[in-house]
Symmetry: D2
């Protein structure tokens, strides 16, 4: 595909999605609550975790290859301005006993739920003061966590993972800055890959943006390609257990309609109760050509937490 043609596609996509995005408005509480998982539910899409979900995933393990999807956690990784990740080594404390046992440990000071490859919980995002299933911030927030929608409700997830490789569809290694992924992009990529989405899938959307992680952190955290409103709403209708991507916000940045801030976060976490995976390392998975696989992710059980840094794997 020629570079000129790619740009043409981008342009068309941009126009089309901007038209969609401009009309996007957050639903009222009455329109979205109770969620389909029931009044008071705190687990949303994680309710998909059932024995048949696990078995479906296990059957996809054929070669025993494990592909790591998590980034190394280090002080120098790309990170939002309000967050950081620091480890302070507590040097050897020697035991007096004859076996001269020394122990090292480290203090970690970090927004540990929201750094590195991360799993977003439902207390992370709001529409006004209202979260998933219309739990209200002022009723459940404390100084030390949320009494509802805390991350301890999620549990480990093992399900069929599907990679939607948009750069492969476009014949590029990385989508352009601020490229908005459209419904058509997703549908065409799935068709090209010969894969059909199913409820409870973990849908990983490859943008190629992860190539910048550790090589150009400043650009990585700037405007990025990602899902637009229409694509996110279409994905949500496929009833996945989670949606992830190899960029920081999942959403295209800036959002085509600048009056709307990261609507994908609200569409997934607040409106539909679908978890998100951010800053995934997808290069190796994409290069492997695997489009379906067992996806396993183990969010930390942070009581009252809004998210968790994670180290998920694809197994096939």
């Amino acid at each position: 595909m020629s570079r000129v043609l790619i740009l043409a596609i981008v342009l068309v996509g941009g126009v089309s999605s901007a038209a969609h995005a401009q009309s996007w408005q957050t639903p009222s509480d009455a329109q979205r609550c109770p969620s389909k998982w029931g009044a008071g539910d705190q687990r949303g899409s994680a309710n998909h975790m059932k024995p048949e979900t696990v078995l479906r995933a296990a059957r996809l393990i054929k070669t025993g290859q494990v592909i790591e999807l998590g980034r190394v956690l280090s002080a120098s990784m790309p990170i939002q301005a309000t967050r950081r990740f620091e480890i302070h080594t507590k040097r050897t404390q020697m035991n007096d006993a004859s076996n001269r046992r020394g122990s090292n440990e480290e203090l970690v000071v970090a927004e540990i739920g929201q750094v590195g490859t991360q799993f977003d919980g439902f207390s992370h995002q709001t529409i006004g003061n209202s979260m998933y299933n219309c739990h209200k911030v002022e009723e459940v927030a404390s100084r030390n966590g949320f009494s509802k929608l805390g991350l301890e409700n999620v549990g480990a997830l093992m399900t069929r993972g599907v990679l939607i490789d948009v750069p492969a569809l476009k014949g590029v290694q990385m989508l352009p800055d601020s490229y908005e992924i459209t419904v058509a992009d997703l549908q065409q990529a799935l068709k090209k890959q010969g894969v059909t989405l199913q409820p409870a899938d973990a849908i990983l959307v490859h943008t190629g943006w992860g190539r910048l992680w550790g090589t150009d952190n400043s650009r990585y955290m700037g405007p990025n390609p990602g899902l637009g409103v229409a694509a996110a709403e279409w994905l949500a209708r496929q009833d996945p257990i989670l949606v992830g991507s190899d960029n920081a916000p999942v959403n295209v940045t800036p959002n085509p309609d600048p009056k709307v801030s990261n609507p994908v976060h609200q569409i997934m976490l607040v409106i539909n109760g679908i978890h998100l995976l951010e800053n995934l390392k997808l290069d190796e998975l994409a290069a492997s050509g695997a489009h379906e696989f067992a996806l396993v992710v183990q969010p930390l059980k942070i009581e009252g937490g809004t998210g968790s840094t994670v180290a998920p794997i694809a197994v096939r």
Copy 2:
């Protein structure tokens, strides 16, 4: 089995292992280095992670049942005196955009590698100034992590897990305080369960002590049943990928020979390069009667870290 008989067994075991323990001495660097995984190796038993290891585990998944082995992370959980786990909620930061998107996150201040259910890396423990494969503390320690043996070297582990249920063997729910698990205990339990250990197994030793987690934290962190030197050395010879238990130190506490401090940590981490899993939640797994299963654990890739809190699962 009568209570009197149990006590008799305990007594015999104690005497026998004390005899062993009293003679235990740490090997010299020359005796233990290079490790069997090669000079300079940093990954130890995690080198067992190969496609056949994963396939062997996947074949054990038959019902799709997932059993969580990780504890909820909260400020009130049992914890060593030098450590803590705190989350400080950073309340809603509202976006100015029309979609009224609010974000919550939290600062976590914790020895995150060494709290809750935790995976021990090799930089955690020493014999004098010497760690696994004779990497020296003063050569690899910095203020902000270890340049060798950091936890980012481990990677996710998926392997056959084996539960050795010692309380079931003894006919009790929980082993007595400071009960030293012996080689005979392990062998008899395996025989009773009809399971044979294989290289690359994740060996989980059930003590029942986890019943005290959250119900009597003070007792949980005090003297506890666990592995003695002889049992640990025997387990190490079985060539596992990791050894775990439902207590804090894996080792019996206090060690029968009080001149030796937690030798199991040195035997596994320093001498044999075998990872440890501590504070496992094993009650549900034991109750399920599952003695072999797929064990999946995803340590956080903390660059230069000594360990990681984890949320492992057994799948069968």
Copy 3:
């Protein structure tokens, strides 16, 4: 004075003050705002800092003796359950240069404004959502400090200090647990000392309770002698620059009327805009027999902070 007599006094005081306390109600915003320092004022009693205030203090310096009133900050000091003070040494970072310069520093993790000997700012306390001068919490609080009433508004204070030595009046070394200091106690102690309060004074109320600091921390943080409502209101009318004491809450604990929680904090910080000094070390000052002196305290200029740990001095 016999011990029996002392107990009798205590009893009478208790009854009398309880009567007062039971009727105490927080004033409405309209009753207390704007403060006497003007609408919008953020500095309250610190507005007393004027050249004549300083000169009055300097004239009291006659011997050059400096008496330290601040406690050593350590992890083992008495501390409220929601707070802590930890220092994590960052060991030597060696410079490569020929002069082999090594640097040590430490990370401190602490509610640094509210630990040890501490100076309370106005954003520390509220009546409902309303603070000093009726600044509203929701209008000025952010994740990272208060846009109004932050501690950076205070500045260093140098003024005449007056010690009111209640144990000396009573002929004891330490007031009994939960002893409520009355107006009569204060007036009689001042009379006995031959000292008259003046506007802008730093009034330090000695209880003797500080004897327990470091010797019985648990008792120190439990029920303690301190000011009651009537005594606090009388002190506020004397127009001091600050009121301090050698206990944690300044207020008697528990408050005689258990329906009212630490009213002294509201009387001083919220209603009258008078700063507080807590956990003072007053033993040496009391032993010196000095009843007036120059008091110098330098709160840290924590932008948006609620308080500051301090190391004040009395100079005479």
Copy 4:
């Protein structure tokens, strides 16, 4: 004074001091220990704190004017790359009692001893592994502070302060980048000011560099004017209680002899046991024309700490 002339002076000063600096070598332990304050001493120049020192200072208080020399502590202030200052507001915790008392506090995460206007203690710096009075790092350092030379040994300081105003001597508002202050500069400035140094003085060297604080933080933390080796050694011979300046390292940066890193820190803290004050706010003091005054500084009593952020004052 014309600008051309100033530059000529700079040039001469630079050459002259470079010649000095190149020959500077750290003394051996034997050459510098025990210190003049006695073997084992931990307090160094702070031993100057005696009644006559305080009285000498108090006599300088004539107008009652207090000039603040401390910077506001905020997350956006200039700071070394290895340090930070963060406050995390812990929002209102409401008390259930009838008086609706709410409390706010904040967690501070900071190298609190080494941020903002700061007072350097002796455990902060080394020559190799040896600190002031030849206390050895490995003998006194722990994970949580230093058992010797901790900041709790210092105590509050009240002494005569002397401002040496080098920009005023040169007729500039701010010394040029990397300008090395020479002995002649100090002597001429003192002569021009009509002030003679005395033992126990707090010597504050004005460079004008503080004008960049908050206006050009990046330049502030870059190459800066400051003391050279010769000037520092001359100052040390005047036997001060402390030396301070309105820049971050006190030393000129980079050091003229690039093979030597911040020798002023070693000359003062390690070799001579003289405390340092960094990042002072000296503009108002310099503008006031006050060359001698009472200097009061209250370092936090951080047990085992290497330094303390402070809010010192000049009183006259």
